[in-house]
């Protein structure tokens, strides 16, 4: 049996949920960032599946823009993390409590 649209959407949903789980659970900023990327990838999978099963190009083109934005986001985000590490000597979220006190 050929896997249908539902199957692809289910996989995308599970991947997105795992990414979200990671963002909530982990304390390391870099791992949180990776989980964010995972969520973005899950959405691209859903977009490609929709695009293919409905026979239009738009979803696949949107994936282009998502990949572009993700690449830009990673570059800026990692630069921010490095700058943060220089100042605070840590990348653990629970130690970055400057605003708390």
């Amino acid at each position: 049996m050929q896997p249908g649209l539902q199957a692809y959407l289910t996989v995308a949903g599970i991947l997105f949920a795992i990414g979200f789980f990671g963002v909530l659970l982990r304390k390391n900023t870099l791992v949180i960032y990776m989980c964010l990327e995972l969520m973005l990838t899950a959405t691209t999978l859903a977009l490609v599946a929709f695009s293919r099963f409905y026979g239009t190009m738009d979803g696949a083109l949107f994936v282009f823009f998502i990949i572009t934005v993700a690449a830009a986001e990673v570059a800026v985000g990692l630069a921010i993390i490095v700058a943060l590490y220089r100042r605070r000597r840590t990348v653990q979220v629970d130690e970055l409590n400057y605003l708390k006190h």
């Binding site: 050929q2 959407l9 949903g13 991947l15 795992i18 909530l24 282009f64 490095v82």
Partner: protein, 184 residues
């Protein structure tokens, strides 16, 4: 056969994604992330989006993850115990279940389309751009209907580049800037 590959690669990417979350070491997480992204690229191939699959491997599994690995090794974030508070764990698992359940429920709202629809020729006029495997179709779409977003995306990359340069400069660097130093 296609079904077998679908289940194999979805299981692979979901498993690797879980390992990303539960791994202690950030480096191991990054390695598992590469596997997960490659699995998604394989699913793209099954959806006949060959161009996007290549792009996924080159940009995500290649460039982005190499950048991640560089930063992880640069910062030397030695493995700390993941101390998870109970509240945190309960909230995270509840969110995972709600989100996954919601996503699966939503996925089943769509009519089951079993077979992949037939591919059509490149579009001519105003009709919605038809799905095509050719890289040409991507170019056609990007330079006609999505011209403005395309330009904005290019500008976004420029902004990101400038932003990274500004962010990674040390505060005192401006004085030692060779351009501003007086010529001898």
């Amino acid at each position: 056969m296609s079904a077998f590959f679908f289940y194999f690669f979805s299981a692979l990417s979901i498993l690797a994604a879980l390992l990303v979350v539960v791994n202690r070491e950030a480096v191991n997480s990054a390695m598992c992330m590469i596997v997960a992204l490659s699995g998604v690229a394989a699913l793209f191939v099954l959806l006949q989006a060959y161009f996007l699959a290549v792009l996924q491997i080159v940009v995500y599994a290649g460039a982005v993850m190499v950048l991640f690995l560089f930063i992880i090794m640069l910062l030397d974030t030695s493995a700390r115990r993941i101390h998870v508070t109970e509240m945190n764990l309960v909230a995270a698992i509840a969110a995972l279940l709600v989100l996954a359940g919601g996503a699966i429920w939503l996925a089943h709202q769509f009519p089951s389309v079993g077979e992949l629809p037939k591919l059509t020729e490149l579009p001519t006029d105003q009709a919605p751009l038809a799905y095509s495997t050719a890289a040409k179709a991507f170019g056609y779409g990007l330079f006609t209907r999505y011209m403005l977003p395309f330009q904005v995306a290019g500008f976004l990359l420029l902004i990101a580049m400038v932003g990274v340069i500004v962010l990674s400069k040390r505060p005192g660097d401006a004085k030692s800037d060779p351009v501003k130093e007086p010529r001898p």
